[in-house]
Structure formats: C-alpha cells, structure tokens
Subunit: 257 residues, 2 copies
C-alpha cells in the first residue's frame, strides 16, 4: 500500500450511517491519511457494510483497517493533541477556533494529532469535547451550517494536509503557456499589421480614428500572447488582406487560383 | 429563505448519482451559496430523487431550485469567470492552479463566477475545460487523489467562501479562558504553597531538592492559569495539608470532626 506514513488519526464517535463511514475513509485517504477509528458505531461491523464499501470507493483499504473501540479514551490512545469538531460552542472546554487559525500553528509541534467527530445529528457530547485540547469549528452559513459528517472530515483532512505542507498541484503544461511570451514589440507589430488590414478592408477610417486600436492593444496585453500566437494573429491578418485583395465573383465566393 | 445573496454558481456536468446531487446542494448551502445548475444529469428529474433529497438534508430548497440544462454553454449564461475542476492536467486549456492560489486573487474582481464539475468517473471533457477561464485542482494524495464529487464541491465552496471573506467562527466563551489570567506572582505563590505541602507530606525532601518544582512551574506556565484556577490549586493544597495534619484511624480513613 502506498499510503504516506502519517500519524494523524481520525475518530468518528457513534456514526449512524454506514455510507458516511465509507465516505470518511475516502476523504482521509485522498488527503494521505489512513488511521480511522470508530467509537461505538451503530453498525458494529460497519467496515463490511455495503453502503460503507460503496462510498469508500478506492479507499476500501482504509475502511477495512478501521478499528472499532467502545469509548473515546480508547480511541485517543497514543494521541497527544485531540481536536474536537463542533458547530456549537460549549460553555467550558477548549477554546473554539477555525481550522485555518489553529492548524498552521499546530503542524510544526510534532504532536500525534487526532480529529474527533461526533454523531451525524447531535455532534459530540460535552464530555467528549472536554477531553480534547482544541475545538475546531468550520466557518459556515449562519442560517444553515450543518455539514454532512463526511464533508466535515474532508474539510479537516484537507486543511490539515495543507497545514502539513500540502502536495503540489500537478500543473497542466499547456503549450500556450509554456511557449515563450511575445515581447511588446511583437505585439505592437501584430497590432500595426491588423490596423493596416482593418483600414484596407474599410473597417477603420484613418481620417477618423476611434478607440478601437487602443482597446485591441489592451485586450492583447491582457491575453499575454505567446510568440506563436502573434504569428497566428499575423497569419490571419495576412489571410484577410489576401482575401480583400481578390476580386469577387458575382456569387461572392473567392476566385480560385 | 434566508440564503445570503450571492451570484456564485455551481455547475455539475452529467452527474450520475442522485445522492451526489443532493450532497452538492447541501455542500453549497452550508457555505452560503444557492445557485446549482445541472447539465444533462443521468436522472432528468434528479431534484425529486429519493437519494438526492435524503443527502440534501436541510438544503432541499437549493436542490429543488436547481436548474437542468442540456449543455455547459447554457449553464454558463451570465457567468464571466468559469473555473473548471480537474484532477488531471490537460495539454491545452487554462493553467491549472490550486484553489488557494487562484481564489483569493479572483475574489475582489467582481466576476460572476461558476465552478464547473465533471462526471464522477471521468471528470470534465477537454472541450468543457477549454471553455473555462481557469482550471482548479485540489491538491490530493498522489497515490489516490480521487475525491467524491460532492466532497470536491464542498472543498471549492469552502475555499471560495473563505476567499470572499468567510464567516466568523462562533467562539466558545469558556469561563476559564475569559477569566483574568493569574499573574506570575500568583502562580509562584501557589507553587510555594504546594512545595510546602509536598514537603510536609514527605513527597519532597528539602535536604535533597529535585527538579520537581521547576517542572511543576513549567507545567503551570504552559497552562496559563486564571486567577480562579490559582485559588483552586491553593484550595487543594490547603485540603491536602489539612488531611495530612489529621491523625488516621487504624482503617486508614479520615477521622470525622
């Protein structure tokens, strides 16, 4: 198995829906984590539940390796920093922060970190929150901020991976962007070429200049043309010029030859 | 309906699973968005599908209001900046960036933004990517980076909301944290009190000092005690002192009175 070694644990306390357990397994695996612990899930053998397997997709390895325990303290064995997740603040317990506030400072501290998620409908009990070192709340719509359990797992796994340094995005290597940029002179040359053609075809009147050329200039500047694209634009200008120079047949089609 | 006014659109191209459509509706609503457009979904009336309604949970309003169109260009009507999402780079098309690279710069530009998501198994067609102004790729596990569709929607909705300024986390107001911090003298007083008690009960030998007191000092410093907590610690010290002063009964229990 090619999962990166990582000591981060994800703990689901009393999850009710097997699909959410499978989706959580996938959510942590795509962010490079693999340690999933289930505290007293509604389905004792949820790792074999059809919905869990379906939602785990390519993360059935993480799902199958998930451990089931009876209590949160067992789930936190070996953990040095437990982050509760809660949408509603508690009167006591650790201070509540947004993940992006808390995690970047936590990442370099070398903790064995657990993220602890409560039941789908009711979240974590106060007693479970009080066991944790921090309480994380995902900033959400004040009018409806109830994230699906596996979505909350996905966001936390993502934020923690980002805090740990993230992964590079596999950048596209589009030909247009890796090609050498055209310099300003090349762009001006193309514009002059087009201006001449536009005058030739009667679109621009040299005696009554408009703002057209400055606007085209701005457009091309924003487009950050490549040298190849300048050639393409000049090729089109030439073709327009050629077409305009040809006498037309009565039917309006270009004369052959 | 109390959804915040927002012009951001989420577009799902040819979604196969009704549950994902419902989960996407919930994912955007919890981040304060409401405009969901479905391009040629597998189930034409997916808004009424049981799985979609179940997964939408409290976002059935967003699900019911989702529009179904035949093509991506129809879905992008009125949009000025379309962000494709793609895990695999394309040879042509817009440059690929991580959401956190692209979105903060995009947020202040006043665009009508759409986020475009492809099919569960195959993602977006190249032709659809080429219509977009940017291509976003969620940084994920190189060994298994396949996010569930609705999870990808959730992450993008979250990142875009964050880029737009986010929402405040409803901070807990834990009594311990809002109480005045104890000053250093108060902490030293408590330590001295405990040192005396520990010597009294024979735990510390004043003739052979150990590192215990400096370590307790460090521990209390890290804990950043409140004034109330100093009182509690001194109260415990007093109680220990009192208990140690009492003669014991043969059974080892404290003498009454």
């Amino acid at each position: 198995m090619s999962l990166p070694a990582d000591t981060t644990r994800f703990v689901l306390v009393r999850p009710s829906h097997a699909g959410n357990v499978g989706a959580a397994a996938r959510a942590i695996k795509v962010m490079g984590f693999a340690d999933l612990v289930l505290v007293a899930p509604r389905f004792a053998n949820v790792q074999q539940h059809d919905d869990a397997i379906a939602m785990a997709s390519g993360a059935t390895d993480v799902l199958a390796a998930a451990r089931v325990v009876d209590t949160l303290p067992e789930a936190l064995d070996g953990i040095t920093w437990a982050c509760a997740t809660a949408m509603t603040p508690r009167d006591f317990g650790p201070p509540t922060q947004a993940p992006r506030e808390h995690l970047p400072a936590l990442a370099p501290q070398g903790h064995r970190v657990a993220f602890v998620f409560g039941r789908e409908r009711t979240g974590l009990d106060n007693a479970d929150v009080y066991r944790c070192h921090a309480c994380l709340s995902i900033p959400a719509n004040p009018a409806y901020g109830s994230l699906n359990l596996s979505q909350a797992v996905q966001l936390l796994a993502y934020e923690w991976r980002q805090a740990l340094g993230g992964w590079p995005v596999v950048a596209a290597a589009p030909a247009v962007r890796t090609a050498p940029r055209a310099d300003a002179a090349a762009v001006q040359g193309a514009l002059a070429h087009w201006q001449a053609v536009l005058e030739r075809i009667g679109f621009l009147d040299p005696a009554a200049p408009t703002k057209l050329m400055p606007r085209l200039n701005q457009l091309l500047n924003r487009a950050q043309l490549s040298a190849d694209e300048v050639h393409i634009l000049r090729g089109i200008a030439r073709a327009v010029d050629d077409a305009a120079a040809l006498p037309r047949t009565p039917a309006g089609s270009r004369k052959q030859g």
